[in-house]
């Protein structure tokens, strides 16, 4: 609707016979003034040349002004239209970005082979410190995505934060519950793997094929947990983009989202280079 209103406007200003009802408020006032001036001119035909000359000059002045005003309006409308087009492009970019996240979380980062599971849960491309700061089952903690938004809202980086804090508190609470359910499912697998893995003391599936199958069964369970975790991550992001923020703030958030992740990554890489890895004294006490 907005698009239609804006795109039809500039050319219509050229026609002097435009109907009253189609004009903006300011234009109506100008027209009214012009009509009044015309009426007065007709009634005072017998006036002196000097007076007629003065009237003519003021008429020219007002037409000049009106012309300038129209020109200015035309150029301003064109600029708005340009910005509007940029906004549609921005909206498309946001939609595209969201689709990319969907594909990343729900397809690319779902393990397909046994050894991929560890890579998804503890990616080697991310320094350990980065994972400590922000990861939950291998990637952004869903509630931390909302925490990032809460921080941005509090630092007034966003234009409209009215009611955002309260809505965020409620959504964070809900996402926490979903995270806990997934955490418990994962904990169940980790706590009972000693009963199911082929080298478990009570498992009799030790031969090659049977051993791999019992590993596969456990990894299947973990894959289901990963799928749920990825879906929850996407859900948190979608909530931010589609439910919580207005159109002006979404780009701001997406830029910060990528920026923060990158800043944490750079920071963690530096830490890894500076601090190295966890170490122990060469001859610790005790029976090591």
């Amino acid at each position: 609707m907005k698009r239609m209103m804006m795109s039809s406007s500039p050319s219509s200003y050229c026609d002097q016979e435009i109907e009253h009802g189609e004009r903006e408020e300011d234009e109506e006032m100008v027209d009214e003034l012009v009509r009044r001036q015309d009426g007065i001119a007709e009634r005072l035909q017998c006036m002196t040349f000097y007076k007629r000359e003065t009237n003519k000059r003021s008429e020219e002045l007002s037409w000049d002004k009106y012309g300038l005003w129209r020109e200015e309006q035309k150029s301003r409308a064109a600029r708005i239209e340009k910005q509007l087009k940029a906004r549609w492009e921005l909206e498309e970019l946001i939609e595209e970005q969201l689709n990319r996240f969907h594909a990343h979380y729900n397809q690319a980062m779902i393990p397909t082979r046994l050894k991929d599971v560890a890579e998804v849960l503890m990616p080697k491309w991310a320094p350990p410190q980065e994972l400590t700061i922000m990861s939950w089952l291998g990637d952004w903690r869903p509630s931390a995505i909302l925490e990032l938004l809460r921080g941005l809202a509090r630092s007034s980086s966003l234009s409209d934060t009215t009611g955002v804090d309260q809505l965020l508190a409620q959504l964070i609470h809900e996402i926490h519950i979903e995270e806990t359910v997934i955490d418990e499912e994962m904990a169940e697998i980790q706590a009972t793997c000693i009963l199911h893995l082929p080298f478990s003391p009570l498992n009799c599936n030790r031969s090659g094929g049977a051993a791999l199958r019992s590993i596969q069964a456990e990894f299947n369970k973990i894959k289901r947990v990963i799928i749920k975790a990825q879906q929850l991550r996407y859900k948190a992001l979608e909530l931010v983009v589609k439910k919580i923020l207005n159109q002006t703030d979404v780009p701001e958030f997406l830029v910060a989202f990528a920026g923060v992740q990158d800043a944490i990554h750079q920071f963690a890489e530096q830490q890894r280079l500076q601090k190295g890895v966890a170490t122990l004294p060469l001859k610790p006490s005790g029976s090591i």
């Binding site: 925490e147 980086s157 009972t192």
Partner: protein, 278 residues
């Protein structure tokens, strides 16, 4: 920037946790576990108490070392992708075995022994070799005298009460650890968003935002290790010598299994799609 000589200085006084773990694992697999098995299979159970104690101390020293190393870099221990293999990683909870795993192992012994006892009751009193053979099918690698599998039969009431107490304690403590990690991460993210976005995520600001919460991460990790250490000790405490030996042997065997080179090679080679049946 670290001094160009820091690398050499470090090398001379410290070793990485990865190296420590390799050495610890080697001692477990090639020294302490065979010694315990030797005692278990010997008719006189020579030195069995001493060897149980050696193995127990070996486990406890591992957790002490984790604690010690945590102060230098807790992240390397919480996310050990550079020194744990892809078969181990998915089963790690806060950098090591889940504390429930120990009580589950204990329960599985009791359940196994007592389910078998019910099945055997019609034929034997459960202390004859036939009873041993049935359980032995599942524990064939143990190669121990027949009375060991039946060591868990008729566990005393006090032992069951003790196990229930341990489990109850774990149910109270473990969710707390998980929620502390979540809170620490939330706090870091909030601080980074508030302090760093305006200054384009400079290292110094992130450093400050992260520092306090990293201390909490270390505290959570130490508490998780304390829990694991306590559970192992408390399980060994009320058990008799045979039960304790079986428990530690099974736990050791489980850890050794994760690094079985043949199985690991098959695992790495395996292209079987997961979720084949879903």
């Amino acid at each position: 920037m670290p001094s160009p000589f820091s690398l050499f200085r470090k090398k001379s006084t410290t070793r990485t946790f990865k190296d420590f773990y390799a050495e610890w694992f080697d001692t477990l697999k090639n020294n302490l576990l065979p010694l315990l098995r030797q005692s278990l299979s010997s008719p006189l159970h020579t030195l069995i108490s001493f060897r149980i104690d050696l193995l127990l101390q070996h486990f406890l020293s591992y957790y002490d070392s984790l604690d010690l190393a945590a102060s230098s870099d807790v992240s390397y221990l919480l996310f050990p992708s550079s020194w744990r293999n892809p078969l181990e990683i998915p089963f790690l909870f806060l950098g090591d075995l889940h504390p429930y795993l120990f009580t589950n192992l204990l329960r599985s012994f009791i359940d196994e022994a007592n389910n078998r006892r019910d099945e055997d009751d019609g034929e034997t009193d459960g202390f004859l070799p036939s009873g041993r053979n049935q359980i032995g099918q599942n524990l064939e690698f143990l190669d121990k005298p027949w009375q060991f599998p039946v060591a868990w039969k008729n566990p005393s009431k006090s032992m069951i009460t003790r196990i229930e107490q341990i489990e109850c304690g774990l149910r109270l403590m473990v969710p707390g650890l998980v929620s502390r990690v979540r809170k620490a991460q939330a706090a870091i993210m909030g601080k980074i968003a508030e302090d760093c976005v305006s200054c384009e995520g400079k290292k110094k600001e992130i450093d400050e935002a992260v520092k306090e919460e990293m201390e909490e991460m270390v505290a959570v990790f130490l508490d998780a290790n304390r829990l694991r250490r306590t559970v192992i000790s408390e399980i060994i405490d009320p058990t008799n010598v045979y039960q304790g030996a079986l428990f530690l042997e099974a736990l050791s065997q489980f850890l050794v299994g994760f690094r079985d080179p043949i199985l690991l090679a098959e695992f790495e080679r395996c292209n079987m799609p997961i979720l084949r049946f879903c």
